[in-house]
């Protein structure tokens, strides 16, 4: 009853092809954006903004990047964190070594650098597939981590390999409060999410999905699969690179290569699996779930069992986290985005039986 399409007529091609063809969806997205841009900065405190919302948005962006590669193109990658690290260190070096480098340009260049590295490590995908490829992407993860730690040039010879992000300044305005950093991150993430949503509807996006569903059939119908896979690696790494740069600049302020270990790659992979593979919405839902779960567990444990030791707590967290993932995949292998879909179907009829 609340999600009925009746009465929504398309009378032009433009209306038929718009990105959110259903009025309720448009209202919903507009509502979310208004709340995110207008209400949250007013009501949220620095802890919520700095420690939860900003990392949530950045990880959602990384998940979006991985989703393009794994969800849309079907190439399983375990190197996400490596590409994030490339983005973070590239942004730092562009800011450091190019005088007067505007921040947004540095972020974009960081993304481009990550994209180039992504294409290099995507080359094996031309020959190998499936888990062989997944293991091969681990080479990217470990190699990048090693290079960034080993060669001091990348961290400007900081003895512990830490890069300290320079102040963010755009057109004379300094982004130094949690609210301003949140708004900056939100702006970038919202724009890139919209771009990803659109990209999936273009020829490139259709090619990706064709390659995912069956690469051999795609090749027979004339799709250049080498090009398609490499473009997917490039775009995906671009997203991850920007996410990594934001991780350094908007979230932590000072990062070391160890912030981008294999665990981070798995974390992002969990996000798209739990959120829903091959959907933009899923990246956000999954990121919210994975960011909030440990916090909720911690708060819950302290509320119910006061005085629980941190040692036991961290082990318990592992057990519950692992258990939840198993449970989740067994109950809903298509992720939270699928639940959302089911919810919308239900809303279409509710409260009537049919």
């Amino acid at each position: 009853m609340f999600y009925r399409l009746a009465g929504q007529f398309k009378s032009s091609y433009a209306a038929d092809q718009q990105i959110f063809p259903i009025r309720q969806d448009r209202t919903f997205i507009a509502g979310v954006l208004i709340v995110a841009f207008g209400v949250i900065p007013l009501v949220a405190n620095d802890y919520w903004l700095g420690a939860i919302l900003i990392p949530f948005l950045i990880l959602a962006l990384a998940a979006l990047g991985l989703n393009i590669l794994t969800g849309y193109t079907g190439q399983l990658s375990l190197g996400t964190a490596g590409f994030m690290a490339v983005g973070a260190f590239a942004a730092f070096n562009f800011m450091l070594r190019v005088p007067g480098m505007p921040f947004l340009v540095a972020i974009a260049l960081a993304g481009v650098t990550a994209a180039l590295i992504g294409v290099v490590f995507g080359l094996p995908s031309v020959r190998i597939k499936g888990f062989y490829l997944a293991v091969a992407t681990l080479a990217a993860q470990f190699f990048i981590e090693w290079v960034l730690t080993k060669f001091g040039w990348f961290s400007n010879y900081n003895p512990s390999g830490v890069i300290s992000a320079q102040a963010i300044e755009i057109a004379g305005y300094r982004f130094d409060t949690a609210v301003s950093k949140y708004l900056l991150t939100l702006g970038i993430v919202a724009a890139m999410a919209l771009a990803a949503k659109n990209l999936a509807r273009t020829q490139t996006g259709r090619y990706w999905m064709a390659v995912r569903d069956m690469d051999l059939a795609a090749e027979v119908t004339g799709i250049d699969i080498v090009r398609t896979k490499l473009v997917a690696f490039a775009v995906s790494s671009f997203y991850c690179g920007v996410a990594g740069a934001l991780w350094a600049y908007a979230y932590l302020g000072a990062v070391e290569p160890q912030a981008f270990t294999l665990d981070r790659s798995f974390q992002v992979l969990f996000m798209i699996i739990i959120g829903g593979v091959g959907t933009v919405l899923g990246a956000f839902l999954g990121a919210a779930f994975i960011v909030l779960l440990p916090i909720a567990l911690n708060v819950g444990a302290h509320a119910f069992f006061p005085g629980v030791s941190t040692d036991l707590m961290s082990n318990l967290e592992l057990v519950i986290f692992g258990g939840l993932i198993i449970f989740f995949l067994a109950v809903e292998p298509h992720g939270l985005a699928r639940l959302w879909q089911i919810g919308k179907e239900k809303l279409r009829l509710w409260p009537f039986p049919h």
Partner: protein, 299 residues
């Protein structure tokens, strides 16, 4: 170049490679029979070793502890089949892969929650000291480890070739549906395979534990085994052995000769990524690994 030194490095590398193979065999067993890429193998190695060492430290005789851990690993195999795998039959491989990562977290948490997180020393009666063999010094412990690995492969070979259960496992590995149609129970076979992988994890855990101490880092043995796995092919036990030998030898040689000779001092820390690069370059030539099954694709 000092030839003796070269051989010493080579043999040391080959023997270290055997240790990688031990973990890789566990992966192969499960992948072959159920198509599941079991990321939890490293966690199982850690779990088995920690359980064994904790029981021994509580005064159990070693054979009783060994039997107990074996029992636990077999029970674990059956539990995993029942709770984790059965609800996920027919799901895409990536989902099954993810579920094993969840399983890895779960096992790590349980092992440390029950037994504590401190490092344990594990004594299995073989000392890690070198002895001279035709002018080349070889570690006694490494020889023992490769002997154990050979025995393990032999046991697995006999199990797969000569027993009824083993033949059922091979049938399932060849073709799930054909195996089902002649009356082999998939769920039983999968439970057996996971139990067998648990047994391999126990052996690997004891050897690795004796060498490095039983600690959380044992879970990273999985990461050591992955390049071995793609080099040798996911479906082949001989591949896991040969892959381990190749990776072990080239890794050590590269560390000693490339790492130090360039003069950049880039050798340190190379062992994390070098095997992967090696395997990657190799895969470009043979995409299914050394002994992997050649994929025939049809539209």
């Amino acid at each position: 170049m000092d030839l003796n030194f070269f051989f010493e490095v080579l043999i040391g590398g080959l023997l270290a490679g055997i240790m990688y193979s031990l973990v890789a065999i566990g992966f192969v067993l499960i992948y072959k029979a159920s198509g599941v890429f079991n990321f939890a193998q490293g966690a199982m190695v850690f779990f088995a070793a920690l359980t064994y060492v904790s029981l021994v430290e509580r005064g159990w005789p070693f054979w009783l502890a060994l039997a107990a851990v074996l029992g636990v690993m077999i029970a674990l195999g059956f539990a995993i089949e029942r709770v984790v795998l059965r609800p996920l039959v027919n799901q895409p491989q990536i989902t099954l892969f993810m579920v094993t990562i969840g399983l890895a977290y779960f096992l790590e948490g349980v092992a440390q929650g029950v037994w504590g997180a401190q490092v344990h020393a594990l004594e299995i009666g073989i000392q890690d000291k070198p002895f001279n063999f035709a002018g080349v010094s070889v570690s006694q412990f490494d020889l023992f480890a490769s002997g154990t690995a050979a025995l393990l492969v032999l046991v697995l070979a006999v199990f797969f070739q000569k027993t009824k259960t083993g033949r059922a496992l091979r049938a399932v590995a060849d073709d799930h549906q054909a195996a089902l149609s002649v009356g082999i129970q998939l769920k039983y076979v999968w439970a057996i395979v996971w139990a067998a992988a648990g047994f391999v994890a126990l052996v690997a855990g004891l050897l690795w534990g004796a060498r490095t101490g039983v600690q959380f880092a044992l879970t990273f043995t999985a990461l050591k085994a992955l390049p071995v796995l793609i080099l040798g092919g996911f479906e082949s036990i001989p591949g896991a052995i040969v892959g381990g030998l190749i990776i072990g030898a080239t890794e050590k040689l590269a560390e000693v000769y490339i790492g130090s000779s360039i003069g950049l001092n880039i050798g340190t820390g190379m062992e994390n990524w070098f095997p992967y690069m090696l395997a990657l370059v190799f895969l470009l030539v043979r995409p299914e690994g050394l002994f992997g099954e050649k994929r025939i694709e049809r539209i």
